[in-house]
Point group: C2
Chain length 251, copies 2
């Protein structure tokens, strides 16, 4: 099916990766006829382009409780991202609850740092209202050597609610955690990203904690935890990224 990648969700010239994931998931759900993404794993093959593309959805399995699709985003004849989307019905899940970490304790949004395009943040930040916890955002003060961890509040800038699908986008919106440790140099492209949806979010802000435990020869994971305003865990995410000098290229 045809899709248009609008330039409002871009970082420099490239549409945000999470935005590409969310578009892929929406196409998968429409084809499968199932309400929710449970897990999505996306592998980034080449930088996407702002403009038209095609989403090719292959239904792989239609089971009793879950369905799986493989989704390819193709632009100008080249595949940009390949995703596996496991879908189901989050509202039908029954079983134990256990949470060993709490949502991050943050100052209220109005006391956090609001990153906007007019202050030099990526254009994407005009669509998503991101408010970073000042204490954790060392890179915004030009510091290095801090922990590779960021925390903050997120919501859509136009006030529309964050649905479960949007969490697959929000999981890839924060700046790289490595900016805090190594400074804002080079770029840190995502090689692959998996997001697990756990619950449809309550209305309001999403709180997010993004942290890195292991950088191995420049390859690192970024682990996200996303909580809704009711204090419920709504998603976790993990991506593999790599620290590179310079800017986007065809890899």
């Amino acid at each position: 099916m045809g899709v248009e990648l609008v330039d409002a969700y871009s970082v420099g010239p490239v549409p945000n990766g999470g935005y590409q994931v969310a578009l892929s998931c929406r196409a998968a759900l429409a084809t499968l006829g199932v309400p929710d993404v449970l897990s999505v794993s996306s592998y980034f093959l080449a930088p996407a382009l702002c403009g038209p593309g095609e989403l090719h959805v292959e239904p792989v399995k239609r089971g009793r409780s879950t369905a799986l699709a493989s989704v390819r985003l193709v632009q100008e004849g080249r595949e940009r991202i390949r995703s596996l989307v496991l879908a189901g019905d989050l509202s039908a899940h029954r079983g134990p609850e256990l949470h060993r970490t709490e949502p991050p304790e943050l100052p209220p949004p109005e006391r956090c740092l609001h990153m906007t395009p007019s202050q030099g943040a990526p254009r994407l930040m005009g669509e998503v209202e991101l408010r970073l916890e000042p204490a954790a955002a060392a890179f915004l003060r030009g510091e290095k050597g801090a922990d590779p961890e960021l925390r903050g509040w997120m919501r859509f800038a136009d006030g529309r609610p964050t649905d479960a699908l949007a969490l697959t986008f929000f999981a890839d919106v924060l700046p790289p955690t490595t900016f805090n440790t190594y400074g804002m140099t080079g770029w840190v492209p995502t090689l692959e990203l998996t997001t697990q949806l756990r619950r449809r979010p309550a209305p309001g802000w999403i709180r997010i904690r993004m942290s890195t435990r292991h950088v191995s020869a420049g390859h690192l994971e970024e682990d996200g935890e996303l909580w809704d305003e009711a204090g419920q865990l709504v998603a976790i995410s993990r991506q593999r990224a790599v620290m590179l000098p310079g800017g986007p290229s065809g890899g």
Copy 2:
């Protein structure tokens, strides 16, 4: 290409999921002509069978530094597992090192609990020598209510070295972390599993820590950290599993 799933790597009647992943990765590497898996994401569609199958490898990208393949394991006309395999050369990676967690401090292997098939452990445990830290393995004492976390040592029982490919298997060998918390009831199938390889392991034991932070209506992640005997992080893994009553079914 044809593949034989031997019954030595099974849990009950079903070949271990990590074993299926490793077979899929081996086929991808052979087709792509690239030495190492960097990341692999696998989605489990139906329980695999001991016996013959076919691995269908679709090369998706052959880039300068990475390559991607999609791999399907088909048995008796039914797809069992779909994987995306990102491959490259781990020995060529250059960049910063940072590790915010240490390898688990464990008693020496001979003072840990050796799970063997003759004591009722799955047949798989005849191929992999797994020695669980006694303090963390509450479920083996019939206890419940402990943290959903397991730690231990692993290596091949026949003494062959653990190569990087084998880590994609080792990441799925431990019993479910939830056994410690909820007891050894029901089954906890893996819906999807991603493993990130970071470094080729040094010879010797692999130390592993597997932990769960969030159980959401019975859906949970199991996060693995794998370290080699030199104390280097060699892989991290995350799977989504679900707690179900009863035994394996077609889902």
